[in-house]
């Protein structure tokens, strides 16, 4: 019987079999940010323990830093400055590199790491952040952990991990116009539930995944955690290798040649057996948007808010009722046409150059509707610079979007900026939980093109109406 990609990567990192389905795995990269990484570094220091390989750990300032122009260590998030200062000091003491405020490589950790060539195909990578699975888009075995586990990884360069079950999700067929990776993953979660991936490492595969850009694959993998998966990944291919080549921390010369020879073999064997397989026909995927407070509360954009009584069970029905109350909606309401107050493009889900290009194509020559607060936060300062080199910032600004410095920004509310109580926001982020973007803020998750189209219309709008033919 052949092996799946996850099983192959597991085997090559297995230091010791600890019995009962648990292994000690070798960890190639540890990433930290100032929100939770600070606690990992503090914990180690309190225990008097050292970081074993500081050269393979990296810190990104992304969660608490402001994204307003002219920012400094002072933040509008209460207590935020302490997180920045303590993380910076602890990283310096441990000898860990920091992509700090003012560094032209600063940005969201899951954007910066692939962009800098830190995440590599076939490597293991952990970060005390749930969206670490994003980096699975490169074929990296990357997963989110807590701060205590991050301290373990820093001190030992290993983690004790239970072997996950394996799942393959095959997306086949051509994506319809106006449909992208964000719609694919929302579609999957809506169909199989926010707990559908629980206990699984998921390989995202199929002709539609092969056809995606590497950046779009990161969007797809980003929300594996919203599917409750242990992680998600896509097998590396020629596109991945092209994408990684020449990045600052990627191997060079002979090491590069050896690396790509290895990476070309990082695929699931034809006779690999998965614990579960799901097949999705991409022709059936429409632009998708959430109506409720769980990522599984997603429907085709042209659809309607479902009736709680049609939910699978009483628990799901109760969750739908709570969600309707929070979102100020009722069963049967149409999504298209629902008036909005805000539009947000950013986050580790959808803030890479290809996302900004797609949104700009919708925004070009158009204006955000009156009264809509529209914000674009590039995923990294490198993305921002690349976008500006193409003039994309001018498109966003002319349309009426704020054009920000990089960071996690308003993907979550930490006591600083927010959209406001009862405000309805279409957002390219990953979580529509109650109060996630601010107390009482109503978040609708969607693709960057749907966010852009909705900002222009002033209500939830179908991006296909703005994309010319098709």
């Amino acid at each position: 019987m052949g092996l799946s990609l996850v099983e192959k990567l597991w085997a090559r990192h297995c230091v010791a079999d600890l019995g009962d389905g648990t292994d000690l795995l070798y960890i190639d990269r540890v990433l930290l940010h100032e929100r939770t990484g600070s606690m990992a570094l503090k914990g180690l220091k309190e225990q008097g323990r050292a970081v074993r390989h500081p050269d393979r750990a990296f810190v990104c300032m992304d969660h608490i830093v402001d994204t307003l122009p002219g920012r400094s260590d002072t933040t509008i998030m209460p207590g935020g400055t302490a997180f920045i200062h303590e993380t910076r000091a602890a990283a310096a003491e441990a000898g860990i590199r920091v992509f700090d405020i003012g560094d032209d490589r600063q940005g969201i950790v899951h954007v910066v790491s692939p962009e800098q060539g830190i995440a590599l195909p076939g490597a293991t990578l952990v970060c005390p952040d749930s969206h670490t699975c994003t980096q699975g888009g490169l074929g990296t075995l990357a997963w989110g952990i807590g701060s205590t586990e991050a301290a373990h990884a820093l001190a030992t360069q290993t983690l004790v991990v239970k072997r996950p079950k394996t799942m393959r999700v095959r997306f086949d067929g051509a994506l319809p116009p106006g449909v992208g990776a964000k719609d694919m993953i929302l579609h999957l979660i809506a169909a199989h539930g926010a707990g559908g991936g629980s206990g699984y490492a998921i390989e995202l595969a199929g002709s539609a995944v092969s056809a995606l850009s590497v950046e779009a694959r990161m969007t797809l993998c980003n929300m594996a955690v919203e599917f409750a998966a242990w992680t998600g990944l896509v097998a590396p291919d020629a596109k991945t290798i092209d994408w990684v080549k020449g990045r600052p921390f990627a191997p060079k010369g002979d090491l590069w040649d050896a690396a790509i020879a290895d990476w070309q073999g990082l695929v699931s064997d034809a006779d690999a057996v998965f614990d579960k397989e799901i097949r999705i026909d991409c022709a059936a995927i429409a632009p998708t948007i959430t109506w409720g407070t769980s990522p599984q509360h997603a429907v085709p954009l042209t659809g309607h808010v479902p009736d709680p009584d049609t939910a699978a069970d009483a628990t799901a029905a109760q969750a739908r009722r709570r969600a309707l109350d929070y979102m100020g909606l009722k069963a049967g309401d149409a999504l298209v046409g629902l008036p909005i107050d805000g539009a947000f493009i950013g986050s580790c889900t959808n803030s890479r150059l290809s996302d900004l290009r797609a949104a700009a194509a919708v925004l070009k020559g158009r204006k955000v509707a009156a009264g809509i607060r529209a914000i674009c936060v590039p995923g990294s300062m490198q993305v921002k610079a690349a976008a500006e080199a193409e003039g994309l910032h001018l498109v966003f600004q002319a349309a009426g979007f704020e054009w920000r410095e990089s960071g996690c920004s308003m993907c979550f509310f930490a006591g600083g900026e927010h959209f406001g109580k009862g405000q309805r926001v279409v957002t390219s982020t990953n979580r529509n939980f109650e109060n996630r973007q601010g107390p009482g803020t109503r978040s609708h998750l969607a693709s960057p093109v749907t966010v852009a189209a909705s900002a222009i219309a002033g209500h939830i709008a179908d991006p296909r109406s703005f994309l010319g033919e098709g």
Partner: protein, 202 residues
């Protein structure tokens, strides 16, 4: 780490699906680089009708007099999904919760519980739902060594847990200390691993 062996206490029902770690501890309640004092912010958006002034919402289950000091939570499926923030576990711990019983957990949250002496206990959904919907507060006895939950009518509900998690909780192990004992094996592995994958080293 605090050990978990046996616990008898009232179980407070919070049987909702997909309760995320943002709900358990909103980001704005994480005010310091510290594990301490997070209990006050636990479930802040549900627990307080006026969060800023800490005015309690009398309808929230943990504000009912019979559940205020409950050391056990009866939770819905996928409890602790979402953000990796270990602060969610530190908040529960600071408040006094020692065990969460649910049909399933968010993976990172579950791991964080075990590393902080909180037992994430999985029971089938109908069992949890029945306990959560009982007319009177349920006094439960959780015995980790025996892997059983005794409910008020005397029934013993068995549960499974990964042996490594069980050992860590029963012994209150320092996980880093345990792994560091394997440092010679890690170094050996590292040498051969580096020879096979030199591009992963700087």
């Amino acid at each position: 780490m605090q050990k978990f062996t046996r616990l008898t206490g009232i179980a407070a029902p919070l049987f909702r699906a997909n309760v995320d770690t943002d709900a358990i501890i909103p980001s704005r309640e994480m005010k310091k680089v510290s594990k301490e004092g997070l209990g006050e912010g636990m479930f802040a958006d549900w627990r307080y009708s006026d969060v800023a002034n800490r005015v309690e919402n009398p309808d929230f289950i943990l504000n009912w007099p019979c559940f205020r000091k409950a050391p056990i939570l009866l939770a819905g499926p996928n409890f602790g999904c979402g953000s990796s923030r270990e602060h969610a576990v530190w908040a529960l711990q600071d408040y006094g919760i020692r065990c969460v019983i649910a049909p399933s957990f968010g993976a990172i949250f579950q791991g964080n519980c075990v590393r902080n002496g909180i037992l994430p206990l999985v029971l089938p959904e109908p069992s949890v739902a029945a306990l959560a919907q009982a007319a009177t507060p349920q006094l439960l006895t959780v015995d980790l060594a025996a892997q059983s939950v005794r409910v008020p009518d005397g029934t013993e509900l068995p549960f499974t847990i990964a042996p490594a998690d069980k050992e860590m909780l029963l012994e209150g192990l320092d996980a880093i200390g345990v792994t560091l004992k394997r440092l010679p094996a890690i170094r050996d592995f590292e040498g051969s691993y580096r020879a096979r994958n030199p591009w992963l080293f700087f």
